[in-house]
Symmetry: C2
Subunit: 330 residues, 2 copies
């Protein structure tokens, strides 16, 4: 995939990682888009701290970058909500580029934005573009991985996945979005007003897993609540007193007529253990547990690793269901 | 996949499991082929010990069963070596049926049988048939799974997989093929004369993994040796004295210019622990470990779960590389 021409759209922490990995894999960085005045006009190598320039400047005008650079693919990481980022996707589709985006709600967009999903699919087909939402989660832990693991079951009764991570090891913006240091009532209000998001994508992951396997769910639920500190904690950015928020515990469930068949749970808290565990119940029951998958590198890896796959996929709005034909099958 | 018409080719331990699972999933068993005089002519339900007949008799004449039953797919489990079983595959291809086979050497047939692989691919395309070799191993532990897990790595240096299983919990034919109770020299001779096989497929798994990821290996090696008992062991079928064979330890390695990039190891021995471990070294390094994947059920599950995927795949001789578009990408 060394010969792919890539535009990176969004040079935040994930976009920076994506750019570095794309460079290391020999991809050609044809352009980089970001609106941050502190980055626009600077060489990408300088923003990345590579100690050398790469001859590509960060630019704020997405239309100009995309139409002049004619990329094969756009690696997009600017936001979580599809109704906020779709104008950016439209710009990429319009020039016929394929897109891999970390936008969480794009991984199964028919859940929150069915009309937008239809529009994007139609527009992408018109312009021979393929659009995929993927990352570590949604995109791996809660969906792609358990779907593939389920292939070894004769009878699948239930899939349960827990992802637990130590929030103290994560970047500032992550620690902010899970409400570290807030009081329980501040957390509740900030979450309900959308000022913090904690994790977005429980429902998308569940519907993606069900889609790959062929499970027809009758209901999907999701929720999250604060984990409260019982003693003093500190991270690089926050001091947390007893009674304040030290993380978040969220979950999603997929049901068939009231029976839980898929459960995903994310615990992101200060001093929590780093691991993932996928439990497949049925005949036989099998559990897989990891030493922990670091979120940012894994998201950048999934995006870059899927780039060449997406350039070979059929046009339109696709999901990982279109790339993974190996799972339990109902 | 409830409406698939299936012929089961080979009603040994795996074929019996496959048949039961296919029935449980609502597939239509259109015919069952086996040459064992103790099975031919009996109702399949009786051979399976279902306590009821299913209205299908085991038949010895494969051509007759296949041409009269017109199956969508043949689930084939009769042998390990492609040069022994290809006449059976030819019969299935000839009637335009797709095939999923547990034949270990079919999972990457270009390694041991490049000419046969070309022939089968051409013949399958002529008859609009899709042919796939898959199972638990090759087909999951040493290949499909590590390939998918590698998608979360920014830089992949090496993949190592260990599969360890307690041979005492396995069926007689498995305990036989790993040489339980032999002396070390008997084991060595029986293995070299092909009287026992132990595990076949290390090289196939390595080449399949490399194929999915896009790694160009310059060398593949494989070997296995006896694990010798230091005390008395017993299984349901064997008594093993100190100095006799209590199992086998085999491995395969894939190299690029002398550097190991893929290593697979299988320990099948009496009183060994049941687990699998996949270690992905690079940036980041991540380890996944399982509670153990029972071989026979997992093989039957993979075969039945892939049946509907294979009926939708392109004609010809395919591998799991054609079904899995989610992995690290070089």
């Amino acid at each position: 995939m060394g010969n792919l021409r890539v535009v990176v759209y969004g040079l935040g922490p994930i976009g920076q990682l994506i750019t570095r990995v794309a460079l290391e894999r020999g991809m050609e960085i044809a352009g980089v888009i970001d609106i941050d005045p502190g980055k626009v006009g600077r060489d990408v190598g300088e923003v990345l701290g590579l100690g050398k320039s790469i001859g590509v400047k960060v630019e704020g005008d997405a239309d100009k970058v995309l139409s002049s650079s004619k990329p094969d693919i756009v690696l997009h990481s600017t936001g979580t909500w599809l109704d906020k980022v779709y104008p950016q996707l439209v710009k990429a589709i319009k020039v016929g580029a394929d897109v891999v985006s970390t936008c969480e709600t794009l991984s199964w967009p028919w859940y929150r934005y069915p009309d937008l999903a239809e529009l994007i699919d139609s527009y992408a087909k018109t312009h021979d573009s393929t659009v995929l939402g993927a990352g570590v989660n949604p995109g791996f832990i809660f969906d792609a991985l358990p779907a593939v693991l389920s292939a070894t079951l004769i009878r699948l009764d239930k899939i349960s996945i827990i992802r637990s991570l130590n929030a103290a090891e994560r970047r500032l913006s992550f620690q902010r979005k899970i409400g570290l240091g807030m009081t329980p009532s501040q957390f509740k209000e900030a979450l309900s007003r959308g000022e913090i998001t904690a994790h977005v994508g429980f429902a998308e992951s569940i519907l993606l897993t069900a889609g790959i396997i062929g499970i027809n769910l009758t209901e999907v639920r999701e929720s999250q609540e604060a984990v409260i500190a019982d003693k003093h904690y500190e991270t690089q950015y926050f001091k947390i007193e007893p009674g304040q928020v030290r993380g978040v515990d969220g979950y999603g469930v997929g049901l068939i007529n009231g029976r839980e068949v898929i459960r995903v749970e994310l615990r992101a808290c200060v001093a929590c253990e780093n691991f993932e565990e996928v439990r497949l119940e049925g005949e036989p029951t099998i559990t897989w547990r990891s030493s922990g998958t670091p979120g940012d590198p894994a998201t950048a890896a999934v995006v870059v690793n899927l780039a060449s796959r997406v350039t070979e996929a059929k046009p339109g709005l696709i999901t990982l269901k279109d790339l993974i034909n190996y799972s339990y099958s109902t």
